[in-house]
């Protein structure tokens, strides 16, 4: 980790050096918030588009696409039954031209679009959809493939009529349709489903119906895809209904964070993920574009609270920590304008979002008062104590987010001011392995895909956020999933947020999930609600 910090500082120094060397900076610089029409100019056809991901991936099995590295690539290879349109804020047709459910939300019927084929020529018909849904809902035991967690209510499906598939669920699930929009619910050819785990994990053997088709691979260095010229089944609201504009898509890997801005700026790649806040200005100054892809499909970044050690068992302590975080300072210090302070546990643009920012206001005096009331008295070293025990709490997180560790470093300082010591183990993956299932580690810093709503994230006893199945919360989740009208559903989604954040303070929301991409000035690209680049509509301006 020391090395990382040093590398970070070096890159900062180099970035400054780079700026002074290329003193010809253009000032046409803007961060593009994604979701709207970001470009009015007409797309140009042709060319090779190079995209740099963060780490190489060797497992492309559909259900495993819950990480950005995988989902961002598979998004261009696999189509889904439905698509979530961020602009409209609704689910629209894709491979399913029509979809409906019974009132109890226990049965969903999908009408499969005519004429869709996988890239190997076999039809994507109702039978192929059933085979996929079975694999997603039940897993494939013989191939050691797990079921998709958002399909936990899945029971069975059957082909009805000529081109319809009816899905039967074990219980009501108002979120099931949304789960079918996820890349992790991407459709593969029945031939792919017959392979073993290693076969289904190999990108060369994954046959989808998407706008791009596998062409070649250099292990751990690059994957090349060619466009499918006969593609004509984009999501209903997509502006480009035909084949991709670009001829070829090259995925490369750029593990070194220090080069990401430079790679996009110099034109060696057209688009790169994982731009550091500190590099955003450098890239803009050099004429590049910073795209902030909003993670509508994910929870906000948070510190989820566990009560196993007893220190957070008292609600007052959790509330004290909630109001002891100065979120504006986090944004100003370690984030950038690409990031938005969270107003709830879900993203501002998510369906059913309720604004709880008043409950998230920074109020250290209130925190101190609450801690006093809870019996934690300030000790000689400034850290509060109760019954001889110090109020020392630990946070664990993976190193997947580039900003999470510095954010917790700042929170560490803020909490010290109210007499709480934070042990910051964010970014330490080895520690995380044990911490994930240890309820005595008080905080888990994370953000999660929430295709199945907040229930699967915070609900079951083995959920890794709180490691605690709160009965009240769980009955609320069950009610929410069983909601039969849109109105009732949204109300219950709001209740869940209020319960989690404002009433129980079981999670301390920090900032909306966003993935920051850097693009060369010639590259034009849009993103899905899951922050994946849409290469089917991406294009490059001519020189």
């Amino acid at each position: 980790m020391r090395l990382k910090t040093f590398a970070f500082k070096t890159s900062a120094a180099l970035a400054v050096l780079g700026l002074s060397l290329t003193a010809c900076s253009s000032n046409s610089s803007a961060t593009k918030a994604v979701g709207g029409t970001s470009d009015s100019s007409t797309p140009v056809s042709g060319g090779t588009f190079t995209y740099a991901e963060v780490t190489p991936i060797k497992n492309w099995q559909t259900q495993a696409a819950r990480f950005y590295e995988k989902a961002n690539v598979l998004n261009s290879v696999l189509d889904r039954l439905t698509y979530y349109d961020t602009e409209k804020g609704e689910i629209v047709g894709w491979i399913a031209s029509k979809f409906e459910s019974n009132d109890a939300k226990t049965e969903y019927t999908f009408t499969i679009r005519d004429g869709v084929t996988f890239s190997n020529g076999t039809p994507l018909d109702a039978a192929a959809v059933k085979a996929n849904l079975d694999a997603l809902g039940l897993g494939i035991e013989s191939a050691q493939i797990q079921p998709n967690v958002d399909f936990s209510a899945y029971k069975s499906s059957e082909v009805v009529g000529k081109n319809q598939v009816r899905v039967t669920l074990k219980r009501s699930d108002a979120n099931f349709l949304r789960a079918t929009t996820s890349v992790a619910a991407g459709l593969v050819s029945p031939e792919t489903l017959k392979l073993d785990n290693a076969g289904q994990s190999a990108i060369s053997k994954i046959v989808g119906s998407g706008p791009f088709v596998f062409k070649s691979e250099k292990a751990d260095e690059e994957v090349v895809f060619a466009k499918r010229a006969d593609y004509k089944w984009a999501p209903a609201t997509a502006k480009n209904q035909g084949a991709a504009y670009i001829d070829e898509l090259v995925i490369k890997y750029l593990p070194e964070v220090a080069h990401r801005a430079g790679a996009a700026q110099s034109g060696q790649v057209d688009l790169v993920r994982g731009l550091q806040p500190i590099d955003e200005q450098t890239l803009k100054a050099g004429g590049g574009t910073v795209y902030a892809a909003s993670g509508v499909d994910l929870t906000a970044n948070m510190a989820a609270a566990r009560i196993g050690s007893g220190k957070l068992a008292d609600e007052k302590v959790r509330h004290a920590l909630q109001s002891g975080i100065d979120r504006q300072a986090i944004k100003d210090t370690v984030l950038s304008d690409s990031y938005e302070i969270a107003g709830s546990i879900v993203n501002h643009k998510a369906e059913g979002y309720v604004d709880l920012s008043a409950d998230l206001a920074y109020d250290p005096e209130k925190s101190k008062k609450l801690l006093d009331e809870a019996g934690w008295k300030v000790g000689a070293d400034g850290i509060r104590e109760k019954d001889g025990e110090k109020l020392e709490v630990t946070v664990s997180s993976s190193n997947n987010s580039v900003v999470i560790k510095p954010a917790f470093e700042l929170i560490e300082q803020q909490w010290r001011a109210i007499g709480v010591k934070l042990v910051n183990r964010a970014g330490d993956n080895t520690f995380l392995t044990n911490a994930l299932v240890d309820s005595k580690i008080e905080f888990f810093g994370t953000r999660q895909f929430a295709y199945g709503g907040l229930g699967p994230v915070f609900g079951p006893a083995n959920n890794t956020q709180t490691l605690n199945a709160d009965e009240e919360l769980n009955s609320l989740f069950v009610k929410e999933q069983a909601a039969t009208t849109e109105e009732e559903h949204l109300k219950l989604v709001g209740d869940e947020q209020r319960a989690l954040v404002s009433e129980k303070a079981l999670t301390l929301p920090l900032w909306d999930e966003v993935q920051v991409y850097g693009a060369n000035e010639k590259a034009h690209v849009e993103f899905t609600s899951g922050t994946a680049p849409i290469f089917q509509s991406a294009w490059k301006s001519k020189d």
Partner: protein, 318 residues
């Protein structure tokens, strides 16, 4: 001689076996089995799936059964399955090992050549300042961090000047620059040891005798000093394989190259323990193999090693 070889080979086999055992025990000492650890990274896993995968990969067997079946597998070239890709560990390694071998072997050859040039110039130069400069080069080189040199070169060459690619594209520079970065770090200890050992040998009476006979400095250096100092440099070269591997991890990351280094890094990040286990055993084999080779070459350079009935034959050579 054959007894010496047999002894060294047996020692090497024992070292690898102990390394395997140590790794095996380390994995057993983890708070959980590899499948659970892998599946629980960042998300909650289904207990039934974990149980199913555990039995599929044999992690539910008694410890002794696991120990011997894994050992048997290794002898047959089977290192188990990588959890992150589902592919056999051996084939995952085979995919990328070529890239690392190219990088590491070229860097090693270049490092030895670089060390020889530095030591030769530093020893034979008449100008005091040149001598001083070259003697101080190795400590400087060893203190330049590999990643820093790589970052700076890429920033200048790839981003500022745009004369090379940030990615390995098969061009001369895209291989030469990483080789250079790795070799600089690697040649430092070799040069350092060679310098010290030449300085020590220079003090010996036979060198005075040679000088008295009218031999030139260059003749003495190439015919006698270098030959006598070679065994110690060879020993240190054998040990640098560790540095080489560590350097490769960083070089491959900075230069976005596929290879064992990247593989190790990713295996550790995603907690793919069977893959880590396979890589550690491979490293142990490589390390032991190279040092065995060094031990076998030593007697050629210094026949006293065979006659000396000592456990520390190498100490004698140094």
């Amino acid at each position: 001689m054959s007894l010496y070889i047999a002894k060294r080979v047996a020692q090497a086999v024992l070292v690898v076996l102990l390394a395997y055992t140590a790794v095996f025990l380390a994995v057993q000492a983890l708070p959980n089995d590899p499948v659970t650890i892998f599946l629980s990274t960042d998300a909650s896993a289904d207990p039934a799936t974990i149980a199913q995968m555990k039995s599929h990969y044999g992690y539910d067997q008694p410890i002794l059964v696991q120990y011997f079946s894994q050992l048997g597998g290794i002898l047959a070239g089977d290192l188990g399955y990588s959890l992150s890709s589902g592919a056999p560990v051996a084939s995952r390694i085979a995919e990328v090992i070529g890239s690392t071998l190219t990088l590491a072997s070229s860097a090693f050859v270049f490092a030895v050549a670089l060390a020889l040039v530095i030591v030769t110039v530093g020893t034979l130069s008449k100008a005091f300042w040149i001598k001083k400069l070259f003697v101080n080069l190795p400590p400087l080189m060893v203190s330049i961090p590999v990643f820093w040199l790589g970052l700076v070169l890429l920033q200048v060459l790839a981003v500022q000047l745009d004369v090379m690619s940030l990615f390995p594209d098969g061009s001369f520079l895209s291989l030469a620059v990483p080789i250079f970065v790795l070799a600089v770090h690697l040649s430092a200890p070799i040069a350092q040891v060679l310098f010290k050992s030449i300085q020590t040998i220079e003090q010996q009476p036979f060198v005075d005798v040679l000088r008295a006979k009218g031999a030139s400095d260059a003749w003495i250096y190439f015919r006698h000093l270098l030959k006598n100092a070679a065994p110690s440099a060879l020993s240190i070269a054998g040990i640098t394989i560790g540095t080489l591997l560590a350097g490769s991890v960083i070089t491959e990351t900075v230069f976005a190259r596929a290879g064992l280094g990247q593989l190790i890094l990713n295996a550790v990040t995603v907690q793919d323990i069977p893959l880590i286990q396979g890589l550690v055993i491979l490293t142990a084999i490589a390390f032991t193999g190279v040092n065995l080779l060094v031990d076998l070459i030593h007697p050629k350079l210094d026949p006293r090693i065979i006659s000396a009935d000592s456990h520390s034959a190498r100490a004698l050579a140094a």
